[in-house]
């Protein structure tokens, strides 16, 4: 298949204080996406402050004396901005989409967000909001299994830290803690300003200089330690639930030049329609859902598989999943299977490239991770270049049948699949682990 793309231009500049500004400019776009991507997340937290990155993200929207939260929200909404923020293990991202004529005002508001006061009265209210967020997470399937699985898989490594933190840690965080955490991790050297859509880059740089030119570097450098993946099979009874939930993490390659090969591998194997897991489990009605994805962190990556099914089928499905992993190594990747994945992924890339805010997320993510920009054209070329042999090689180098498998549901006990490289552990609760 042949894929056409809209013209775009990549631009890059570094302010004197070290703040990097990158943009993918589309003169024909209808929106401008703007984001401040800050290289601080759950993995940077000392353990008594579990959840503090996410807490800071919430409190940043409480503003400062000049721009308190109500005025900030009003100002964002008066220009029709769609805005949000997100915290993960590696980063905290503040992003928005506006009509092109409003980007200067939007940038000023992003500048205000980076000068929070952490007012103590607001702190107590927001603490309650976050505690509700934690309750919501614990009430919804898979009942915190993701946090638990990560904590076990990563062992002592900070990538196992919970993004939300625990009720106890969130209850203990004080205004002064938020202040010092913010000062220590937010600075011109840990943030990158990203723009997409119909924006003039020179004007963006000039405006950013005015707003962020006085922002000092914070000097924070994350220490990257190697991950030692843990082999565990963990059963967590959740009386009263109807379905059995599985989450599995296995080591994945990181820092590959041809990383789109991993992406194609997950499409071929995945649970979405047409993937091998779909035909194995969903099509015959053995599960409610099964999904496979790839997560890349700075210095580490994992394959994650989630599966939900009726408890009576759980043990059989778990064994079937393990057999599936082993079989992947034996079955060749058929050229037509690869072509299918390439066309699906490539057309998805073209569709996503038309949305300014979608590009913003992708470009910001790649920059924080690798300090690299990939144009859609370049990605399409990388996809086209992957061979079936390369995919099979990946499967041999990174077998799926290892790592940590956690299951939550009504079952009180469940046998590990045959050939599972570890003993079974039963935990008694889904909160905190």
């Amino acid at each position: 298949m042949h894929f056409k793309l809209r013209p775009s231009q990549f631009c890059r500049h570094r302010l004197a204080n070290g703040l990097e500004i990158i943009a993918e400019c589309h003169p024909e776009a209808y929106a401008v996406g703007l984001g401040l991507f800050v290289s601080v997340g759950a993995r940077d937290e000392p353990s008594p402050w579990a959840g503090i990155s996410h807490f800071v993200e919430h409190m940043v929207f409480k503003g400062n004396a000049q721009f308190p939260s109500e005025r900030l929200n009003d100002a964002f909404e008066r220009i029709g901005a769609l805005y949000n923020a997100i915290t993960d293990e590696d980063s905290t991202n503040y992003f928005l989409a506006v009509l092109p004529e409003y980007w200067p005002e939007a940038l000023e508001l992003l500048g205000q967000l980076m000068q929070p006061d952490f007012p103590p009265d607001q702190l107590e209210l927001e603490r309650r909001v976050i505690l509700e967020e934690i309750r919501m997470d614990e009430d919804e399937p898979p009942y915190n299994a993701e946090d638990i699985c990560r904590r076990i898989f990563f062992g002592d490594h900070p990538l196992g830290n919970s993004i939300l933190g625990s009720k106890q840690s969130v209850a203990a965080i004080q205004a002064q803690d938020l202040h010092s955490y913010f000062q220590a991790h937010y600075g011109a050297d840990t943030a990158v300003l990203v723009a997409t859509g119909r924006i003039n880059f020179d004007e963006l740089v000039a405006k950013a200089e005015k707003i962020f030119g006085g922002w000092s570097p914070c000097g924070y450098r994350r220490q990257i330690h190697p991950v030692v993946p843990q082999q565990r099979f963990v059963v967590i009874p959740k009386p009263g639930s109807h379905q059995q939930y599985f989450l599995h993490l296995a080591p994945a390659p990181t820092g590959l030049a041809d990383w789109v090969a991993v992406w194609l591998l997950t499409a071929i194997l995945g649970g979405q329609e047409g993937g091998r897991l779909h035909w194995e489990f969903v099509d015959p009605g053995l599960v409610e859902t099964v999904d496979l994805w790839f997560e890349e962190h700075q210095g580490a990556a994992v394959f994650a598989v989630s599966m939900t099914c009726e408890p009576t089928l759980a043990e059989e499905n778990c064994q079937r999943l393990w057999d599936f992993y082993r079989r992947v190594r034996e079955e060749p990747i058929h050229p037509q299977e690869l072509e299918w994945a390439k066309n699906k992924v490539s057309s998805g890339l073209v569709l996503a490239s038309e949305l300014s805010v979608q590009r913003l997320a992708n470009i910001g993510h790649d920059w924080l991770l690798e300090r690299r920009y990939y144009s859609v054209a370049e990605l399409l070329e990388m996809v086209a270049a992957v061979s079936p042999e390369r995919i099979l090689q990946l499967v041999h180098e990174y077998p799926f049948d290892c790592g940590t498998l956690v299951t939550v549901g009504p079952l009180e006990e469940l046998s590990a699949p045959a050939h599972f490289p570890a003993e079974v552990t039963v935990l008694s609760t889904t909160s905190g682990a």
Partner: protein, 451 residues
Amino acid sequence: MATTLRILTWGCSARSKHRRYNPGFSTVQIGRERVVETILHHEFPNGLVLVGEPMRWLESVAVSLRIPAGSIYDDSDKAGLASFTGEMVMRGAGPRESRTLVRDLGLYGIHYTERVGTTYAKFTFATVSSQIARGLEIFADVVRRPHLPASQVEPVRQGILQELRGLADDPGSLLVRELRRAFYPYPVNRPPIGEAETVAQITLEDIQSHFRRYYQPDGAIVAVAGKFDWEDVIDLVGQFFGDWRGIRPPEITLRPSEVIYRHIRHESQQVQIGVAFPGPPYAHPDFFHAWAAAAVLGSGSSSRLFRELREKRGLCYGCWATYHSGRSQGAIFCYASTAAETAQETLNLLLAEIGKLFSGIRQEELQRIKAGIKSALIMSQESSAARCAVIAREWTLLERVRPVEEIRRIVDELSAESINAFLQANPPKRIVVVTVGAKELEVNSALQVAT
């Protein structure tokens, strides 16, 4: 959980739940700005309607095929039949058996969804513009020449039964399902997926019979948005659907629900609170008044619910109100979830805010809503899928697609005075409350405040 996916392909949502605001980047409703295009329209003799909106600045195209074969036509002992049939038609059609069909869709770079709602069975796809003919050809087979293989009945049934079990675990989904059931008239109020007992009863003969009766062109629509040549699309749709025949299903008689409060017991820390009250249908002249009022109540971080429940009191992480626009009835659905010990306070406040809404809104609140609409209207020009959904909905609810200028004028002309006049003349005739959680709430006195 965290968005550490390398790249989010189209159709995949961000995995993270830790967004600050629930609504996130909402899809856009209506409109265009810089390039004013005509809405294109063509009717075929068999009753099939084709509507199109060219977006020449894109390389993608999105198509939505909607057939009036939704769950309202299900017999009560076979609830879920329409949904079951929707799954079955995808399992092999025309020259392709199930696997070949899915494989070819991928080979042509087609991203698709199949979903059966209350009124329509909806088949939607998006791809690069050069592949539109392939997509139309395959989906014509799906809706006209499905194999409906006997071997697939049990696998599909098992998948649906699993989904029903999963729904029972998810308090948020449970709330929405039960609020619809309590608020809407029968049979619109039934969950399209059906119930475990009725899905267990469905036979291959039922599926064949539902397909024969309801998969037909009269009242069906094909909506196309993105990069395409209109004459080519008319030819293609004529070629694939022109000789399709059938008779439009009759109107269904509705039976109003009389529920005021329903509590669903669920072992969870939070109580999910849902409140619904009626508003005018989509085609009604007052629709935009009610819709703007609902946005003041619960859309975005300056909305009243967000400020009163979350910002001032820290009671909720998620709280919002949204307008459900229907053909014969509209509704405002409000939502909040909070710990059991603060649930009564939250419900009382939510109902009090509904009561206050009918005392009127302020001009500055309306200005905020208008800015949001304008922005959303224009930004929708970046998404063929969003525009396709809008024009399909406009047609199915109005039997025409309003020119953008008409929508812009209506929104521009909205004033706090006209909205307040509407609110004062139309206090809610009925308010329905549904809660899901460990604690049942007291609603009577709080309801009196709201009404």
